[in-house]
Symmetry: C2
Subunit: 289 residues, 2 copies
């Protein structure tokens, strides 16, 4: 998807709307629009649409957009509140809302009415879930980059790889999204020379997961940190990655090549290949009415 700053025909305005964070609408919307890579879109996310007044202002904005561009805007929304949803539906736009489409089918399947959580309802967060994510984040921060190895017995997974192979973002994402306790440990030149696993991690072989990447990409990332250094040279990157991959193979450590992957994909692969448990989605809440 290209955004409005490229040349070519006018981009289509796309709104991601929600009475909550709009993360679901945004995630879904981008997945759908990515199926039209030749087209250009101008996305705009508006969260917390929790009053009829706010909804009416957005309808005005959508219609003003339509007049200006001569193109019908696209709205991808998750509006649980029926009153607000009805107001948004007055806009002359293509409105795609999985709540509209799927809730009636689920109601029929379950023989039960959905609550249509409204902006006024009192939502109760899940403190246990919140706290287990916070614990996992604390764990990841304390155990980043081999800073301490004392509580490795409590790790769900220990990510290993050379400097700048993506260990830290992977561990943080595992903690934030899945509540998984992930430590990470850098593989250094000394480890490579010894052709053995570093002693701090050797006893936790079953928890290890390796990351590797493409030497050119690694060199580019390192070059931004330390321009012109040996550390950033393509030759050095090749050598380190080759040695790391040999270690992974030798000790049968599962690993992935992260070169073409997003942080989400890397983290999901780790969960899958290491046989870890995803925490129930953190945004999930009961609705109290």
């Amino acid at each position: 998807m290209s955004t409005s700053d490229s040349s070519g025909p006018a981009p289509r305005r796309v709104y991601f709307l929600s009475n909550r964070t709009a993360i679901t609408a945004e995630t879904l919307g981008h997945s759908l629009l990515a199926q039209f890579p030749e087209l250009r879109f101008a996305p705009l996310t508006i969260p917390f649409i929790d009053s009829p007044g706010k909804a009416r202002k957005i309808v005005e904005r959508i219609e003003s957009d339509a007049r200006q561009t001569g193109l019908r805007p696209i709205v991808i929304s998750t509006l649980a509140d029926e009153e607000i949803s009805a107001i948004i539906h007055q806009a002359d736009a293509l409105i795609l809302d999985p709540f509209d489409r799927f809730l009636p089918e689920l109601e029929q399947e379950f023989h039960a009415a959905s609550v249509h959580e409204s902006g006024k309802s009192h939502r109760i967060s899940n403190p246990t879930l919140y706290e287990s994510r916070i614990d996992a984040i604390d764990y990841a921060l304390i155990h980043d980059d081999g800073a301490t190895t004392k509580q490795y017995s409590q790790a769900d997974v220990i990510i290993i790889g050379v400097s700048r192979s993506g260990k830290t973002p992977t561990c943080l994402y595992l903690a934030l999204q899945f509540g998984i306790r992930a430590a990470n440990y850098p593989i250094t030149e000394e480890d490579m020379d010894s052709e053995d696993l570093p002693r701090h991690i050797k006893q936790y072989r079953n928890k290890l997961f390796g990351l590797t990447t493409d030497p050119r990409r690694l060199a580019r990332i390192r070059e931004e940190r330390r321009p012109g250094s040996l550390y950033a040279s393509l030759e050095q990157c090749r050598k380190e990655l080759r040695a790391a991959e040999q270690l992974f193979e030798q000790y049968r450590i599962p690993y992935v090549n992260t070169a073409d992957m997003s942080i989400e994909e890397i983290a999901t692969k780790v969960v899958e290949l290491a046989g870890l448990q995803r925490l129930s989605k953190p945004v999930l809440k009961h609705v109290d009415e």
Copy 2:
């Protein structure tokens, strides 16, 4: 949503399926199921369904589930590959897939075919986007908990609040999800006694954003860290939060009470109230065929 470990009637099996990370299917699925708080579900996420063979195994599993529980399973999926989608549709389940429902409408609206990204297609990640997220994560880690204040001029936002009010997870989420450079700075007792903003942050008043919470909740979280301490006492938490809120009011610093909010909601509120720019969604990619 309750899971299978509670008592009561048998939970309904729900599958979140995707040929990619399944994060979209999972996020959407939890939003939908949260509208039925009285029902019990047994969710199972299966990512990377990228071959007909894998899809057929999942169909067998769904049907075996249905036989065992006597309840039709629910499938919430984002299957872009038409062959794989067709196989999954053979299962006797309620299948809700926003790709099925919304792509035809978008194709009609755009007068363009969607690419139906297949497992075989060569996906190109967006290196610039990847790197700006990594930069933001590095920034958040270096500037966590007031560790250094040197590059505050480069911060998009500086989160302030008392110890354990949620600053660190908020900053990490802002970095990971939105590519926002977020520093955080703790408000300590000394700052409160001076009734003034700490000098390190005073010159960046326009970038400040405050977090506060409920004293009981804060006491509970602190109690887990340092049981029986003054730090964790309800009286101390009350005093600190009151002083922090007074600072926020005095200097007109926008702030939110995080007590009932998920990390996603806190981060989205910060983006909204501080007028920050969300990065284009990181999972977005071109498809090359």
